[in-house]
Assembly symmetry: C2
Homo-oligomer: 372 residues x 2
């Protein structure tokens, strides 16, 4: 079966690009002397995670308990659920944790620690827990300079029902970078904030078993990760237009794309419509801080992903992608196009299956662990 036989929209993974991205990051982690715990939320499928883990210890990071369930069943034994855990989810965490080596959770609040201790006590078990600290993103995570941070770490370290895994952070602000140099600054934030906090804890007599940082932009840019234990990049498996814009990769590295069909063309008005809209590409606006006119993804040739000039996705609604530009003159209803999405994680999550391709040949089909 070949790409031209597929229904549209379809999600495509270019296997050779994916494997190259996976190998490069694995090698990079090895060179930097850190353990690689890839964040698998980008694709949510076991086949991809196995390739990403080659040469490393096999641990992964997930964003939902649906992923944790799926990857646990697929044989992954060391999983970190990297969104602060809701107390209501602890029963399921206990259940999954009991089936594998370790499902670790994140906390940044005393209420959650209390809930974890209570749950662990009632099951007469010990649950593995990371302390999430904020290194500048100001999303989740406790301010590492606060008294609260010290109190949380002390409590985790001293708890008889908690296996304190260590300190974890994520410099998501690296997505605001305009280039690799700015991403490097975020990487330094991750490292320095972590080091400073670990030293502060040491002074207070709290030993930190492990440190975990991560994001594709920061690990792509980092030059030195001395003293850091593990990294959790995820998007690099596929990359996307956003990562290319901020310098994490080139457009040619992008391994995920959406196959679409032209369904309407009005070349006299330089407009056309494809059958991939907000439910296939997501409504992620892309790197507008670098290119306000980036549109909703980059249009490339079906056979080899070479960029097609003169075509821009100006607007998307549920099932329509609107294209304008002089390149519309070459389109007809039925013309196939391939779209490199702005944000491959969100685009991939729209699909129940991915077609794995080598060139234009379909060589496999992978299914993600969707939902929650």
């Amino acid at each position: 079966m070949r790409i031209e036989d597929l229904e549209t929209p379809s999600a495509l993974i270019d296997f050779d690009r994916f494997e190259r991205n996976a190998t490069r990051m694995a090698d990079r982690a090895t060179e930097l002397g850190v353990r690689l715990r890839p964040h698998v939320k980008t694709h949510k499928c076991a086949e991809a995670a196995r390739i990403q883990s080659q040469g490393h210890f096999g641990g992964i990071t997930v964003s939902t308990l649906a992923e944790a369930r799926g990857f646990a069943a697929a044989g992954f034994g060391d999983i970190t659920y990297a969104v602060p855990v809701a107390p209501q989810k602890l029963a399921e965490v206990v259940e999954i944790n009991s089936r594998i080596d370790r499902l670790s959770v994140l906390v940044d609040h005393m209420v959650t620690i209390s809930a974890i201790e209570e749950t662990a006590r009632s099951h007469a078990i010990v649950l593995p827990v990371w302390l999430k600290i904020d290194c500048g993103l100001h999303r989740a995570g406790v301010d590492p300079e606060s008294e609260l941070a010290l109190a949380l770490a002390t409590r985790l370290s001293n708890s008889g029902h908690i296996d304190f895994r260590g300190v974890l952070t994520h410099a998501g602000q690296s997505y605001d970078a305009s280039n690799r140099t700015e991403a490097l600054a975020s990487a330094r934030d991750e490292c320095e904030v972590t080091h400073t906090f670990v030293k502060r804890l040491a002074k207070a007599g709290v030993e930190v078993p492990e440190t975990s940082i991560g994001s594709t932009p920061t690990i792509s840019a980092a030059r030195n990760l001395d003293g850091i234990g593990e990294v959790r990049p995820g998007n690099y498996a596929f990359f996307d237009v956003f990562q290319a814009a901020i310098g994490s990769c080139t457009l040619d590295d992008i391994a995920f794309s959406v196959l679409a069909t032209v369904v309407s063309v009005h070349p006299e008005e330089q407009r056309a419509v494809i059958d991939a809209g907000a439910l296939a590409l997501s409504k992620d606006p892309g790197p507008t801080h670098i290119d306000p006119d980036c549109g909703y993804g980059r249009i490339v040739a079906v056979e080899d992903q070479h960029p097609l000039p003169g075509l821009r996705i100006t607007s998307i609604s549920q099932e329509h992608g609107e294209i304008d530009g002089p390149g519309t003159a070459a389109l007809r209803p039925g013309t196939r196009l391939r779209i490199l999405p702005n944000h491959s994680c969100l685009s991939a999550a729209c699909f129940d299956s991915y077609r794995v391709v080598r060139g234009t040949e379909i060589i496999d089909e992978w299914r993600p662990f969707r939902g929650w």
Copy 2:
């Protein structure tokens, strides 16, 4: 089972609000003297479409062939697939059309008409086809003042392999309205452009069997639809923050919401995080043309959807919704919140099932026909 027993994020349909919205629109169509062919892409489930169709002829509008397959199997006999059809999809159109009274498709290009004629001829059948005209959205649809529009209509009308259903348009520009008065102007566009084109065709000897217009904003605002055959609003089943902003409904009419749990709170920085992000709420920016600070949905109380002041969803990533505001002082990890999404169609499409609720009691579970 009650809302408090649900995992999060969960998709909720408030049954009473949904039924009220459905009844109002059905009554409105009856009063305006038009047939109601609801666009079911908003929810994609048969239970909802049956309620929306009550008192009308039972025809529906869909946005994908997956919906067409699902609704056909669920007993819906008259379906319009309201995205211009890709030539490659015609084999499946023929198959679905053979199982029900009619699966109609849209065209706006000669290439597509040729493909339909060829397909119909090879199967020795007649396929039902609408001509899509552009009434100002400039997405799909032929310019009704062009020579091409006349040529397309003439060819459809004369074809021995096409059952020419009529002229169809969609004033999607109504979503740019800031209020009901502006939406009313778009409604007039839909009607006037359609009437003018039908008259032009009549002069040329082309009879138009039917006319179809539609969108929730325009039908909500319209005062007179004389001469129009059918309407295709869809979003009104659920409504959302966007429709409330442009005056199609009130916030209290919104029947779809997402249940979320607070997982991180840092009240000293007035920030919190919920476990509903871009994959539960979509990344639709909402009515920013009216309120640039609208955020990614409105936070309301779980039990009765009353607005919770002082809380704003400022940013969303894959599985994190970031909240700021003084209202965060009242939150704890584990606090449940309900989110009225900016765009209910895109948010609903993220879920494999919806919990139907009356008050806080779960009374049913509906499953959408997802994918393509």
